[in-house]
């Protein structure tokens, strides 16, 4: 299946077989990357707000495939944000390069950009909306660890109300037949809108407050951090941030499967004890590393190299 010329705005736009195409390509990139696949191709990375990790990961991916990069970031990016309309910037830059990686604080910015120009637009985060390459790397991390995205039990833990990563990943799992378990205090549970969509999509899922109850059944536990800026009240945040705490002792006590793998988009706060790092369950460092092969796969696919 060819994804040549495609924009990557939201994982919603990708069918099951297209997601599988990305998974297989990422697997090949992880094993043995073709170093001159994109030689002669130019990627522009336009970061209108800072996100050092994401930008480094994209630029590394492009360089590893033999491509070149021009970029706008830091104060240059933020001043561009004030200076001219996004539409004008995108239209001009599209004439310089073969694809644009766009990070912008406004929701839907990438969708707008993709409608304006013919070259592929890759959304590297548009406000609270989507960050599809993060979702693809999460999917790939599960796929690479479990060799499938079907028939799994995947737990989501922490801030499920505001967590964009969780929403996008849960939405993407609608294409697959796995059971999703959402663990959060009631005030941070998965929004009803999304739960309704999952239900309509025939996804098997439940919402609970007890992590002990679901842990023994899980193949994947996806932890997220509870963010301070979501709370107006300091006391409420202090109460919530420590509500779940995954450590080696808990994993032992609840008799988790030996094959359980724990993911976390990092950085972590209190929810995941560093003593888990030493166990076979830790997958989050690999998850962070998977950003580069996943983005290599996406760049290779949309720029037509593979």
């Amino acid at each position: 299946m060819s994804l040549s010329g495609r924009d990557i705005i939201s994982v919603r736009d990708f069918s099951r077989s297209e997601i599988e195409t990305v998974m297989e390509a990422a697997g090949r990139m992880l094993a043995d990357a073709p170093h001159d696949l994109l030689s002669g191709r130019l990627m522009a990375s336009l970061f209108f707000e800072p996100s050092t990790r994401t930008r480094l990961s994209f630029e590394t991916a492009m360089h590893r495939l033999g491509g070149r990069v021009v970029s706008v970031s830091g104060s240059e990016g933020t001043s561009l944000l004030k200076g001219e309309s996004l539409s004008d910037t995108i239209s001009v830059v599209a004439g310089y390069c073969d694809c644009i990686v766009l990070r912008h604080p406004v929701e839907g910015a990438s969708r707008l950009a993709a409608d304006l120009v013919g070259i592929p637009i890759i959304n590297a985060g548009d406000g609270a909306h989507e960050h599809p390459t993060q979702t693809f790397l999460d999917l790939f991390t599960i796929f690479n660890a479990c060799r499938t995205l079907d028939g799994l039990q995947i737990g989501f833990l922490g801030d499920l109300k505001y967590g964009r990563t969780v929403h996008s990943l849960a939405h993407a799992m609608m294409s697959f037949k796995s059971r999703l378990r959402f663990v959060a205090p009631p005030s941070l549970q998965l929004p009803d809108d999304l739960a309704g969509e999952l239900q309509e999509g025939g996804v098997e899922f439940d919402r609970t407050t007890s992590v002990e109850e679901v842990l023994p059944e899980l193949d994947i536990l996806y932890c997220t951090r509870i963010q301070k800026e979501r709370f107006g009240d300091e006391a409420e945040y202090t109460r919530m941030k420590g509500i779940y705490h995954i450590d080696a002792k808990l994993l032992q006590r609840t008799r988790v499967k030996p094959s359980l793998r724990i993911m976390h988009p990092l950085p972590r706060v209190d929810e995941l004890n560093p003593d888990v790092d030493q166990t076979e369950h830790a997958l989050y460092i690999q998850q962070a590393h998977n950003g580069v092969p996943t983005r290599m796969a996406l760049l290779g696919l949309v720029l037509g190299g593979i």
Binding site: S85, E107, L112
Partner: protein, 153 residues
């Protein structure tokens, strides 16, 4: 039948133009405002709070010598989804249909998400109609849902 004739007379007949009937009772003046009833070229007759066997209380709006644009029809469809539209020529109804929402609405609805790109760049808004009863729209740009009264015209 007699009652029907009585009601017709509550708002004078027009010779040529458009009649919007079966407007949800509470939406009559909203529709009138959407059609800019008080600043149009031709006469507009508005009947409000009329009794209707089908919907309890209804409104009716008659506009002389005018056919509505598709844009205007879409506006009405959002405010009064059960309304009907009749074209009148020489006092006779030459066409009557229910107003229907298209699958995609462009340029009429405002996205209530202040962080949406449609509120930052000079572009047309675009909404996908995902539900019709009640009306539920999804913003093409930011994917936020708007339902019923949340919809800003």
């Amino acid at each position: 039948m007699a009652a029907e004739k009585m009601r017709k007379r509550e708002v004078s007949a027009i010779k040529d133009g458009t009649v919007i009937d079966h407007i949800d009772g509470k939406a009559t003046f909203k529709v009138a405002a959407l059609l800019k009833a008080d600043s149009r070229e031709h006469t507009v007759l508005v009947g409000a709070n009329l009794s209707s066997r089908k919907i309890g209380r209804k409104g009716i709006i008659k506009i002389e010598n005018t056919e509505l644009t598709p844009d205007e029809v879409n506006r009405i469809a959002l405010a009064a989804p059960d309304a009907t539209l009749s074209i009148i020529k020489d006092y006779a109804v030459v066409m009557k249909r229910r107003i229907e929402l298209p699958d995609v609405i462009e340029g009429i609805v405002k996205c209530f998400n202040p962080s949406c790109v449609s509120n930052h760049e000079k572009i047309q808004t675009r909404f996908i109609v995902v539900g019709r009863d009640p009306i539920r729209l999804r913003c093409y740009h930011c994917d936020r849902y708007e339902t019923g009264d949340e919809i800003i015209l």
